[in-house]
Symmetry: C2
Subunit: 321 residues, 2 copies
């Protein structure tokens, strides 16, 4: 996605770039203003960066609007996203993320759990400052869904009976809802207003599903020098993704495999790649993108906003292609 943010900014208008810069400044202030130790953990988490895709969605969905409330909303969705990553790293005992050591690894389970809780609460503090109850509701609903999705993923670990339907339910909870919330926040706090929030939210949900599905394909296909992690981490964690479901349907012998090492996982990735599972999953992701674009076509949007959102949609599946 990184390579696709720049063209989105160029089309969406200069104000989106300004909003993103202000969001970075606000995130730095939040991290540095609450005590030394916590500030260090929070700063390193936020500085690890990432694509800031969710704030971009907030701003592009807000149309031409440019306000402090939008900056707060952009920071809020990023803070919530970061909070879940920090907690996930604790649960996964993950040493690295995005090429940097995790808070869990440098400072331990306790510090990482507290840092995640802190980032959570600061997300809501930012939205409280907008004065919009609809905005707080959007984020709290997404946050509850994230927790439910996390639990579902762990309940389903190594399960042999995960269906396509259950996979998508989990993706909706873990990814779709926060993308939906980002788009909804842009609508509610920006030009489109409350009455467009549901439809713009549905666009976000579809983009989120496509994003997650493509991410799950990349986990199996790599290449590692572009994804930043070895292939098959989902296989090692027991996270049953759609390409794994598809591959098992086509080659039932794959059901018996439970790799224990990175090289065993890589070998299993090769066997999955020998089926049509990756290609079928990519096609399914593209269907979500098409649905998202269909939703866009029903909305009353400025030309440049529509073009920018179409570009975001395309960008989700064009990574590393």
């Amino acid at each position: 996605m990184t390579t696709h943010v720049q063209p989105v900014l160029e089309i969406a208008g200069e104000h989106v770039g300004r909003l993103l810069l202000r969001t970075e400044t606000l995130l730095e202030e939040i991290a540095s203003g609450h005590g030394l130790a916590l500030g260090q953990h929070a700063s390193s988490t936020l500085a690890a960066g990432g694509k800031r895709l969710r704030p971009v969605l907030v701003f592009v969905c807000a149309g031409g609007a440019e306000s402090m409330n939008l900056v707060r909303a952009g920071a809020a969705v990023e803070l919530l996203h970061m909070a879940t990553l920090v907690h996930d790293d604790v649960l996964d005992r993950a040493p690295m993320r995005r090429g940097r050591p995790t808070v869990f690894w440098t400072s331990g389970r306790d510090a990482a759990t507290a840092t995640g809780d802190f980032l959570f609460s600061r997300a809501f503090a930012q939205l409280a400052a907008t004065g919009s109850a609809a905005a707080v509701k959007a984020l709290s609903d997404a946050s509850s869904s994230l927790a439910r999705g996390e639990l579902m993923q762990r309940d389903d670990a190594f399960a042999l009976d995960v269906t396509e339907e259950r996979y998508f339910e989990r993706c909706t909870l873990k990814t779709g809802k926060l993308f939906e919330a980002a788009c909804r926040l842009g609508a509610v706090l920006g030009d489109p207003g409350d009455e467009s929030a549901d439809a713009i939210g549905r666009f976000g949900d579809r983009i989120g599903l496509a994003f997650q599905l493509f991410d799950d394909v990349l986990d199996l296909s790599g290449p590692p020098d572009q994804t930043g992690k070895s292939r098959g981490t989902d296989l090692l964690d027991g996270t049953v993704t759609l390409p794994i479901v598809y591959a098992r349907e086509e080659d039932p012998s794959l059901r018996d495999e439970r790799p224990q090492t990175a090289s065993e996982a890589e070998a299993l990735c090769d066997r999955i790649a020998a089926t049509s599972a990756l290609e079928r999953s990519r096609e399914r992701a593209k269907e979500f993108v098409a649905e998202a674009k269909n939703i866009l076509s029903t909305l009353s949007l400025a030309d440049n906003q529509r073009a920018a959102l179409n570009l975001v949609a395309d960008g989700v599946v064009e990574r590393y292609s």
Copy 2:
């Protein structure tokens, strides 16, 4: 405190009892409405009960007001309190709380972390539904403070240089701020209104400090059949509380003690009880209660509301006495 809730309800008026019942119903709905596994974890956490002291503070500080928004605020402070307990149990690897097995113990680290995150997010969802940005801000500030306090406590574990000042800073973050938020929510959403919120909030902060300090004395003094836990858990965890600070001042040989077993902790409790540390700490707690009552005397309150809040203040230090 349990024994003191009933007289508070009798003085504060029947509406407080009704608000508490509605809060229980709402908490049950929240726990049961979000998927089976999560619902079970959340239900067992909420059913484990406790004193519901924070909701009582919300309602009594609201004066004669009785509304769904107050019920939501009561549920929100309890949900946030529960969320932190669930996460604390993960960090402490605690098997039991309030005589029941913890979510961590029955369902594991992952489920407990997700359950805590879920309870957090539902707290904010309840306040979002009130439409009051001041209410959301009160809770998000308290929530950030809780995370900071948690981190501070773990940073200071087994430290020999914890001062009285640092201890009170930690108590403010870990306990005072949520008590303050409860009182503030009552004011903002009830009869007193925004202009009384700061003063009523300061009352809550003082009560919270007294409550925490007395809790810390009880950890050392027991008796276990009333506190529900063996004496000296803080000594085993390395949590340096004020009575420990005082005892070390009086008997420097205590600085070298680091008990490893429950019986070593009990023996150390006896040595601490031989100093004046417990009595000095109780006196300090009573000073906070006196400060709280002083703040009350400056507020314009109905007679029964004032009497009820005075009773809450007295109840904090009268447990097991």
